[in-house]
Amino acid sequence: MGITEHVDRVDRRLSAHPVPLKERFQIWRQRYGETALLLSPLLLYMGLVFAVPILFQIAFGFYSRELYRGVLWRPVPDFTLENFARAFNPEEVYIDSLVWTVGVAFFTSALSISLSLPVAYFLARYNPFGKSLIELSFLLPVFGEIFTLFALAYAFAPQGPVNWLLMGLGLIQEPVRFIGSPLVVIIWMSVPTLSVLLIRSALVGVDVIYEEAAQTMGANAFQTFRKVTIPLAKRGIMGALLLSVSSGVGIFTLPLVLVGPYNNWLGNKIHREVTPFFNYPMASALGVILTAVSVIFLYLYLRTQEGGEDR
């Protein structure tokens, strides 16, 4: 029950005879029965709605397919590596797409983090004018994908403010066609958003003492920042980077709408295998690969957090 502690372990020394199975079940039931009941909806739900489909996805990656009624493909239970082989075949588009996806995620994450460093540092150490506003604004992307889509569409439209600014500054003669090219997505991914908050907490963890010490030793602000602050915050920064890449790899809606259905991101390629190609096995295989990539970066992230505090 709620807070009542139960027997930690049935201690063989304390009882005269080994505990019979029925009684052992009774004890288990008394101790964990309520907990099991509380957790079962969640476990059931995640099992049926997440674990099972994912397992099937992995399995489907190994299926092949056959023509059904002449026009429709349907998957055939099989064990073939042809999907994965195709995925990694340099002559097909997929490996290119994978490289592009990971590359963009990495590049934009690195850029985003670099750009967020000054702001994050500022927020970590000082009380800037408009602090609450600034902090609030970095939470805005949470508003939802549709909102972001529209906002970007308008911001980067040929007649929109970005082009207006660039032309006004004389940098370009004609409006740049952002929408429809990968440029808009890349730019958006490079803008520091949540990464600012992540980096800030990494920087907050660096004791000011070290910076002050460096300054008393004669280092100026830049030197201190470069040689003292950053190295000490390295773990947090690496963590933010890896987390950012891990989630950047799975981007889907933005490229779909702002670049067009035939963009080079892997998420979209996966979707296209389903619609219009109905190639579930291929889609599944690619899905597995994309997930694996994301998980690898996540694992690396967890590794950087090791040796620190518990999760």
Binding site: P53, I134, T224, V295
Partner: protein, 265 residues
């Protein structure tokens, strides 16, 4: 560390600029909705776009969104509330493992697991494809980690002593939960419900990929964007959508504030 004043000013400006970049789209959206075309600087102010909003289809899909939000939230609370309670108040083998496992749906790129669900349904439940219950169930998955974590946080900051006192006073665990625990964690539960509702009502990925037969508003708008591009009318629709949803949340919040007097600081 001590920074020269000019650097502080530059940093401050930089920070405000970035904040501005974040906030600008909201303003832009609002500006666009009151113009008749998409230009910067804005011109041709007119409210023409608002007239067209009264498209049947829009409000119908808005209704679907709200229902999606509602059912999804109910499902999430029903699942996550007991689970959060178990995770926070009880000890059992595998407790920290389970705590980590819950976050897995957020770790997977959402596109892959939504497609996995879609493929799974398409193959084994072909008859149910696009049906509302499937959409609800699939949409809710994405919010599980956040809802669990929010409720768990609320439990963590509520002293267990109240529950112990109730037990000794003669209340069985169920009664203790509904009479004592729940009122005390109500703020956290309401916050979690709010998050769940917003996430589900505005969700695009799951309903779209799974081919929702009754599209929620996010899908509806997307389809219009495909057809018409980013017109001001659609900007209006997006704003109206956000407005309605936020409005509902605020209203519910105000209602519940009165219910739980003495608990909110």
């Amino acid at each position: 560390m001590r920074l020269p004043r000019y650097i502080m000013v530059i940093l401050n400006i930089y920070a405000l600029m970035l904040a501005g970049i974040m906030i600008w789209p909201v303003i832009q959206m609002m500006l666009t909705s009151v113009t008749s075309d998409v230009v910067f600087p804005p011109r041709n102010f007119s409210l023409a776009a608002f007239e067209r909003v009264l498209w049947d289809g829009f409000f119908k899909s808005m209704g679907v969104s709200l229902q999606l939000g509602l059912w999804s939230t109910l499902l999430l609370i029903a699942i996550c509330l007991p689970a959060a309670y178990a995770l926070e108040r009880k000890r059992f083998p595998g407790r920290s493992l389970l705590g980590a496992v819950i976050f897995v749906p957020n770790i997977f790129p959402s596109i892959t697991y939504v497609i996995a669900i879609g493929v799974y349904v398409a193959i084994y439940f072909i008859g149910l494809r696009g049906e509302f219950p499937i959409i609800v169930v699939a949409t809710a998955m994405g919010a599980i980690p956040l809802v669990v974590r929010t409720i768990q946080g609320s439990l963590a900051t509520t002293d267990e002593v109240y529950e112990e006192a109730a037990l000794v006073m003669g209340a069985n665990p169920l009664r203790t939960f509904f009479k004592i625990t729940l009122p005390l964690i109500a703020p956290g539960v309401i916050t979690a419900a709010t998050i769940a509702f917003t996430f589900s009502a505005t969700n695009f990925l799951a309903p779209w990929i799974l081919g929702a037969k009754e599209p929620p508003v996010a899908v509806y708008i997307y389809r219009d964007v495909e057809r018409l591009g980013f017109t001001p009318q659609l900007a209006v629709q997006v704003l109206v959508m956000e407005f309605i949803i936020l409005g509902i949340i605020q209203a519910l919040y105000l209602i519940f504030r009165k219910q739980f007097r003495g608990v909110f600081a």
